[in-house]
Symmetry: C2
Subunit: 200 residues, 2 copies
DNA sequence: AATAGCTTTTGACCTGCGTCAAAAAATCAT
DNA sequence: ATGATTTTTTGACGCAGGTCAAAAGCTATT
């Protein structure tokens, strides 16, 4: 993992992050500079481990370019939980919130550039900018909806329907994710997914 | 549905609700009276429809005593989504947040007493009590965790494992919910659930 | 460009659980 | 209580999709 704070290219791109916040709240100049002072740039190579389940997750990464995989190990196999991509936050949610270890690993499916915000800094922002609480509440609502939809699509559906639903929710991204990881995300055998794909 | 605002028994019981808030935030006297002025008591008979998917969900109910079922219709069948019980909020989440219709119905599995808070009043509280934003963010975090666990337990598990997980998450409540509703919640056939139960 | 190490595909086989149907048990309304 | 309705149980059967095994394709490394 490389770090860097310099470079006008990077400064300029924080706009992307501000724009993300602005989907939910108005971002004042004070908030902007508070964010600016606490967020720094990180990058990962393809295959690199971003977060280890052996550790407490103390930072949240907002992906500017690239793709991660959140996964856990069950019976020695890697089960994909979620694929965080551009303009999304990525962390081990429960670990990040409770400051305890949790089961999730995160690694990079592609070379990835991201903005890093540490828990302690986030806490500072919550304390000093109530609009950040609102941002958090509202953006969680969005994710919430996705989780509920996903739960609905896991029950009472055939493997093919699960895959179709996946294509819909990940339409921009699905071709960047290896088949095996998609299968474990959907809870179906990779052989089955391979067969589903071949008959189209 | 019967309404009422009087009665010392009811006033006294709002303490339950305040205590719930206090798990996440400090509840000042000002907040208490603001809540008190905006929350009123409602009750439902067993089987009664609490929320209709044909309407926008404009209120959130905090259950004091009783049990609801949140469900939707798929291929003419009622599929249980969730069973809100004592000390939990119940609404049609997406509808409540976006003020648009959504697919969920809610009805009462038992005679149920609840506190009712309307969206507009909640918005007022958010505007005037930033700690309510925090409460909302933190309590959503809890629910979030449950949803993720549930997603994990829907994939790669046998019908029996799904049922065992259900018993664990609903340990206080599972015996109050009819078998058929549990089966649709888990995404298994009720015949299968009946067989699982009989071999114990 | 050749070897090693993954990932995906194809084939054969088998079982958990869904579906359909009907009986038994429980709940409700008069 | 008694008949009507709803819910649960039991049985028979079939298939979607899991498992195991091996071949075929890819990717990366020296």
């Amino acid at each position: 993992m490389k770090e860097s704070n310099l470079s006008q290219q990077i400064e300029g791109n924080k706009e992307l992050l501000f724009r993300h916040f602005e989907q939910y709240i108005r971002v004042s100049d004070e908030l902007k500079s508070a964010l600016d002072a606490r967020i720094n740039f990180v990058s990962f190579n393809k295959g690199e481990l971003v977060h280890d389940a052996d550790k407490v997750c103390t930072r949240s990464l907002f992906i500017q370019k690239g793709l991660f995989r959140t996964y856990f190990i069950k019976d020695g196999k890697e089960i994909s939980e979620y694929f965080p991509a551009e303009n999304e936050w990525s962390n081990s949610p429960k670990s990040f919130i409770t400051r305890q270890k949790d089961m999730y690993y995160i690694d990079a499916i592609e070379n990835t550039e991201a903005f890093c915000l540490k828990v302690d800094d986030l806490v500072y922002l919550f304390e000093n900018f109530p609009e950040m609480e609102r941002y958090s509440r509202l953006s969680m609502g969005t994710v919430f909806g996705h989780l509920m939809e996903r739960i609905a699509s896991l029950r009472f559906t055939t493997a093919k329907e699960k895959y179709d639903h996946f294509i819909k929710t990940y339409q921009e991204i699905h071709h960047r994710i290896p088949l095996g990881m998609i299968a474990s995300y959907l809870g179906i055998a990779q052989e089955t997914l391979s067969r589903i794909r071949s008959e189209k």
